[in-house]
Symmetry: C2
Subunit: 360 residues, 2 copies
Amino acid sequence: MRALTKGIMLLGASAILPVAAVAEDHSAPNGEKEANWSLVIHGGAGTISRDKITAEKDAEIRAKLTQALDAGEAILAEGGDAADAVIAAIMVLEDDPNFNAGKGAVLTWEETFSLDSSIMEGATRNAGSAAGVSATKNPILLARAVMDKSRHVLLSGAGADAFSQEQGLEQVEQDYFATPHRVKALEAFKLRMNAAAKGSAKAMGQDALGRDWRFGTVGAAALDESGNIAAGTSTGGMTGKRWGRIGDSPIIGAGTYADNRSCGISATGAGEYFIRVGVAQEFCTRVRIAAEVSESPPSAETVQKTADAVIAEMGALGGSGGIIYLTPWGQIGYAFDTPGMYRGMASSAQPKSVAIYGDE
Amino acid sequence: MRALTKGIMLLGASAILPVAAVAEDHSAPNGEKEANWSLVIHGGAGTISRDKITAEKDAEIRAKLTQALDAGEAILAEGGDAADAVIAAIMVLEDDPNFNAGKGAVLTWEETFSLDSSIMEGATRNAGSAAGVSATKNPILLARAVMDKSRHVLLSGAGADAFSQEQGLEQVEQDYFATPHRVKALEAFKLRMNAAAKGSAKAMGQDALGRDWRFGTVGAAALDESGNIAAGTSTGGMTGKRWGRIGDSPIIGAGTYADNRSCGISATGAGEYFIRVGVAQEFCTRVRIAAEVSESPPSAETVQKTADAVIAEMGALGGSGGIIYLTPWGQIGYAFDTPGMYRGMASSAQPKSVAIYGDE
């Protein structure tokens, strides 16, 4: 049920090269096809199993994941920018009501929509995030505006809404985000909370972060032909979240990280645990140090083991969820401890693939 | 102008022991005094030099730093808890108008006070943070309430204010936080901004994150007799901050981290750069991996070099600031790239010390 690794490895490299050099040398000594670009996406992890998803929904999700990959591929295959590809892929998922980001976001305790997003570029490690925004149609575009048009990394609440308007991003009414299944989910959540503990913080947390949960956060990471990595994440957060709760998605180092020296990564899951472990950065730092210590790019196996170890560490604290990742050396992979994760990958060197369940 | 290291090292240990075992074995084979507890604090870093500070202010700052150390020591020397000591030390600085936290916080662009705080415990890696709160007298107490009384890690804005009230924490009017020198600082900032670029995001960021700046954020890290580490940070953020900007102080992994396997750390500086590097977690992860690779506690020199390297990495991106740290092996230190940092350390093994300038 863990993680597929379909990485392409640069075998025989004798030392860690400067990023640009590594990125330019995509030749694979053992005759494998060149890996000039790669892309990996997710649409959330959780208690996703065949008995819980209809054949129709299964097909719908796969089609949408494929569409998101196509949107990113269209940019990367033309030599386009990693951040552009990440944004294109994420926007497809934000616009689809099946995923908990943009349209289709979950509701807060106060029956509003409060959206979080982040993006990071691995060349400069520049980053932008937004937390608790209420009216931006595509929150990932706001993350990018924060990165490109301000000197800040993280904007929040009404201030982030004002910045979004000032930047001319498309604003929508809250109704735009609403879907019947999320309204029902909040009603069910409130019934459980009110019955159990009258909505106390402790009980709410226990329920919301329990293992029988589905996280519909979306995210993407891309490596472009110039050797630049980008990663991004977008979410509506947790159903019934209160008190201005911010999860891991807009936190650089927790839900998103990108560094041309090591990786691009986006996470989905019980955000609190991802923050405490610092999942995204922990993965990148471990991969980078593994490369530094061995003075060569880490093997695909090492990278996957690192991903699994970071997820296990998060799980040991009581959390649950998953990550998607890619490296500057062409490896692409997933790691998750939930029954399923909506996910997909594409690259110049391998056939496109999407998957839902843990045994795929 | 860098970093003093006055660490105590457990020489001769042949392997990394489980945390509890390391913590219990404070004997120093070379006859050094036992290091049962340690405490390190800061009150911000920046363009702090002798020509900019009067003798009276110098003495006032040193007295207050000493008082903060005393407050933490009173708990640690009695075998008390690391988190309690961190909170006691930070509250002294929050209550003092000289520091940019609690009373004496800087003003936002909208002429309000918007406070951030965080705390983390190294035994469980449990953590709590608050961003953009407006009425909690001691924001570090709110961070602790988030950690202990909710299953969330980060609460923000009006929601965090509501949670604070619900938890019965002391609420104050915004006027409580106000001090004449911060009002003047905002006026000066607005004049510069309005003259330069009519308050545009880009110009504001450039000014606010420039190197001629003083960051009055406060923080503390403690190691208690049980071998548990805690760290916390509290701040008013940047003068003239807008759009609900959140800096590194409430971000676990950026401004604060604690892990019994590696370190306790609190940061101060140009928060955006600390987030992008993930300074607090990066330091802890590097120290932990250094210990794992060598199968023994890293030397004080290795730890200090790691601290310097992480600050240098942050500086290479264009940022500026400093950190305080301690390890489970009794090392205590600072690293900063600013002319000065308000700081102090105390432990069961060495005389208490406070310092302001880089050459102390």
